[in-house]
Amino acid sequence: MVNLDKKRVSPVKIGSVTYPNPIWLASGTVAFGAELSEILDLNMLGGIVLKGTTLEPREGNPPPRLVETPSGLLNAIGLQNPGVEGLIKDKLPFLKQFKVPVILNIAGKHEDEYVSIVQRVAEEAEVQGYELNLSCPNVENGLDLGTDPQWVESVVKKVKKVAGNVPVLAKITPNVTRITDLSKAAENGGADAISLINTLVGMAFNTHTQQPILANKIGGLSGPAIRPVAIRMVYQVRQTTSLPIVGMGGIMNQHDVDEFYIAGADCVQLGTLNFVDIHQLRSLINTAQS
């Protein structure tokens, strides 16, 4: 039996960093923290994972970028972000006023970009984690490189070489048949923790126009609809590794948080909930204060 009372308030050690509690906020659902800080005390979080950052600025996809589906949110934002220089200049300084551990989410187009971003950040700023977004659609041949275990292992290995003491979290794609192939690959590459799950690939049509609703046609599904999938993957990965697991996927309340702990997660990230219910978000954060 998992001791939930203890788990809910336990600090989480990943690599050389001890995060104060197990309630974190997920990448892509907090932007870079400023807007959320108007309504939430960021200091009470165990960690905040910033919006996926690329080497160069990205303007993102045209709208519509999102649509609600049953108990889910389908999105294709397209990694709109200011690029690593914009992150360093305009986003990270704001977060210095808070004591919350800041984890960057890094989205490279290829291996070298992950390395370049980490190197650039390491020169300029102090952060408490690099979460590698390893869902990497290769536009040219239509493949998602992140589904290839060899590629995952190789990226993690290269990033670890330049990350110094900062923990490297591998956020692997759930859009595969065997999630443990990827978690093992990340572990072999030297990852300090496994983050899962990212969004599931989905699609929705407008039945009147018979056109896809998202301008990008295909998007990533988050929210309670994907929680059982996330729980299953956390459970499966836990059977094969002793690395810390950062669980996420449709958490809306304490029951859902506990379910992730029982499945094998050491801490959790809240995502879609941030868009929906700040009261509930605060309640989960309060529960995590020891």
């Binding site: 993102g60 709208p63 941030n274």
Partner: protein, 249 residues
């Protein structure tokens, strides 16, 4: 500064065919919002509807805020069933509001259908030097006709079927008299906004109240963007009002 509040519905009444005006008790909000700001409303319970739904603040009293909505889908249908005394979970005020013009330049409000729901708060705070161009599908869609005729200098109506005012679309109605105005505020479906922009002389300062599928309502999800001359901007945060010259149509 915005907050999440559980408020009590004080009235929810039909005001036109398929249109409802829902009022709720929120004294702080009633004092502290700017025209064109909106509230993001949680409809139903649990994950019946996962995301909040954004509605412009239509009007207020000392203690209450009201929103105006048209039944489009399941969410608005559910909202129409709320009764006096029911609780409602709202987030607001959101978006960048409009400072009502103090100058008396000739101004027009141009709205299509439920777009009327976004401009009343502005109309109430403007000097009475504006005309209203109001396009609807048919007579049954007209909201608060008497009240608007008292608020505006002149109300120019048009309808798709000719049952109310001129037969035709509001952009054409406005075009005939566009030269009389220096400033316009426009709200309605995107195609209507574009049609007005296309007929609007460059000498007019134009403001468009935009909409898009929205999730958070306060700028963290990057979902509800519009393309502008300085890149994608968030309708919920930098918007929902944009200058016509700023939007990439």
């Amino acid at each position: 500064m915005f907050t999440q509040e559980i408020v009590t519905v004080t009235e929810n009444k039909p005001v036109a065919e398929g249109y409802f005006k829902l009022s709720f008790n929120a004294p702080e909000l009633a004092k502290n919002y700017d025209p064109i700001q909106f509230v993001n409303v949680k409809v139903g319970s649990g994950t019946e509807f996962l995301l909040r739904k954004p509605f412009s603040i239509y009007d207020h009293t000392d203690t209450d805020i009201s929103i105006l909505f048209k039944i489009y889908g399941k969410g608005t249908e559910r909202l129409s069933q709320y009764k006096t005394g029911d609780s409602l979970d709202i987030l607001g005020p959101l978006g960048t509001g409009v400072v009502p013009p103090k100058d008396n330049v000739p101004t027009a409000l141009i709205v299509g259908g439920v777009g009327i729901g976004s401009v009343k708060a502005l109309a109430l705070k403007m000097p009475k030097q504006f005309d209203l161009f109001y396009g609807v599908r048919n007579q049954g869609e007209v909201v608060e006709k008497q009240e608007w005729s008292e608020l505006a200098n002149t109300v120019f109506m048009c309808s798709d079927d000719g049952s109310c005012g001129e037969k035709g679309v509001v952009s054409t109605l406005f075009q005939k008299q566009a030269s009389a105005y220096k400033k316009i505020y426009v709200c309605g479906p995107h195609a209507m906004l574009k049609a007005v922009y296309d007929v609007c002389p460059e000498t007019i300062e134009s403001f468009f109240i935009t909409e898009e599928y929205m999730a958070c309502g306060f700028g963290i999800c990057m979902g509800c963007v519009i393309k502008t001359t300085s890149g994608y901007k968030r309708i919920c945060k930098e918007g929902p009002v944009f200058k016509g010259s700023e939007i990439i149509w």
